[in-house]
Amino acid sequence: MESLSFPQFEARNSQVSVALFRNVANSGALKLRIISASTTEGDLGEAEREAVKFAFVDARLITSKLHLETAIYQAILADSQGALRTRTVHSEILYLLNPTHNITEAIRRYGVSETSTDVIVVRVDSPDVTPDEVQKKMETVVEATISPFGELENVTDWASIKRYYKLNGEVVIKEAAKNPPKEHAIIDEIVTSSVAMKSVMG
């Protein structure tokens, strides 16, 4: 698990933990648990919401660490300005990753689903919670072990990303098609920049 600090944000949002889980066994059940947690009432609901208070991101659609961190930064920034388009800073990350303004679509594409085997788990929290505690909480909900983030390069599904971002028609992508590392670098820059400027996308 990796930790990032953002001292410019208020304490409750200034510590971010990110972990890549591979070979996740319970993604379908996890998705159902997140859905039911959002509608359960009373103390049980509170406890369930706390247990799944993460962004669960399908790792196939992430091109690089910078791509993910950009979405995290813009999500916390939106929260700090009272400008969230979704209910929580965690769901905002999924919203920002998707190129359209459709929240349901963002969660369906970028969130955890029955077919997800590689899941990136993100927690935005206060520095009072130690990294060990966060990691334990992650490992309690996700049935898998944490892999080094560098393994992301074996997971990224470039074809889907090109489709979602409508990049197949772009000349620069076609020209680089025979050189995958170059093509991937171009796509990574386009999607990272798209996430960064989503608030002014128009």
């Binding site: 953002f6 410019q8 930064y73 916390i76 920034l77 820059e189 386009i190 920049s193 400027m197």
Partner: protein, 248 residues
């Protein structure tokens, strides 16, 4: 900007590298120890009415970000976008390690006293040879990059040799500062863009005619069939200047 916002604290932790009439430019990081980025802060203009100022600032940050993304999608070498806070007037972009073309060409940055240049890179002043480029090759890179941008119907609006950089790692030419850019398909706008660069060359670099000729020849090859019309229009613009006559 109130000092209590996240972006104000971000700027406070960054270092100022240049200041113009429209914006201040900082070097900073989003997270301690992270990769450096450029923060372009369009500060509040007290000579404008508050709400007009807010609207204009927001629109300009948005416009610049959109132009950059359009360039990226069209394969034009520009800095990537790293963060946007339109309500505070801040655009965070990729830090390009390298030098401006102005700095690399003869008698550009040498007597630069207007402070409109990047921070000194240390003891060693970089030259074209450090990048493995000849002046002529560099002119070709400039022509090709501007042509790619114009083919995407983006007009830069402020083409100068200070607004072009050469990346240290790849010797790639990168266009920067899209603060005055806009979208247009008109031959007129593209010709004026080229004319502005020609004037900038003439006023910044002595004996620049052959250099600018190489820029144009590379530009012409890259734009293809639109070139004859563009060249004719550039000749017209040269005769009358940047502004069209308002008469008639």
């Amino acid at each position: 900007m109130s000092s209590s916002t996240a972006s104000a604290r971000l700027l406070a932790s960054s270092s100022l590298i240049s200041q113009g009439a429209e914006a201040k430019v900082y070097k900073g990081t989003l997270t301690p120890g992270g990769v450096p980025i450029v923060l372009k802060y369009r500060f509040k203009k007290t000579y404008r009415h508050d709400s007009l100022d807010a609207t204009l600032t927001k629109a300009r940050v948005a416009g610049e970000a959109r132009a950059l993304l359009r360039c990226l999608r069209s394969g034009v070498n520009v800095p990537g976008i790293r963060m946007v806070d339109a309500s505070e007037g801040i655009l965070g972009i990729e830090w390009i390690e390298g030098n401006s073309v102005k700095h690399l060409l003869p008698s550009g940055a040498a007597e630069d006293v207007d402070g409109d240049e990047e921070v000194p890179t240390g003891l060693h002043a970089y030259t074209l040879e450090d990048y493995g480029l000849s002046a002529d090759t560099l002119m070709g890179l400039i022509g090709v990059e501007i042509a790619k941008m114009h083919l995407a119907d983006i007009i830069h609006g402020d083409l100068t040799t200070s607004n072009m950089m050469v990346r240290k790692a790849s010797s790639q030419l990168v266009l920067i500062d899209f603060g005055l850019s806009y979208h247009s398909t008109l031959v007129e706008d593209k010709a004026v863009d080229l004319y502005v660069l020609e004037r900038a060359f003439a006023s910044t670099h002595p004996d620049s005619e052959p250099m600018f000729a190489s820029v144009l020849s590379a530009y012409g090859k890259q734009v293809g069939k639109e070139w004859p019309a563009l060249r004719r229009r550039l000749d017209e613009v040269r005769l009358r200047g940047r502004k069209r006559s308002m008469v008639g």
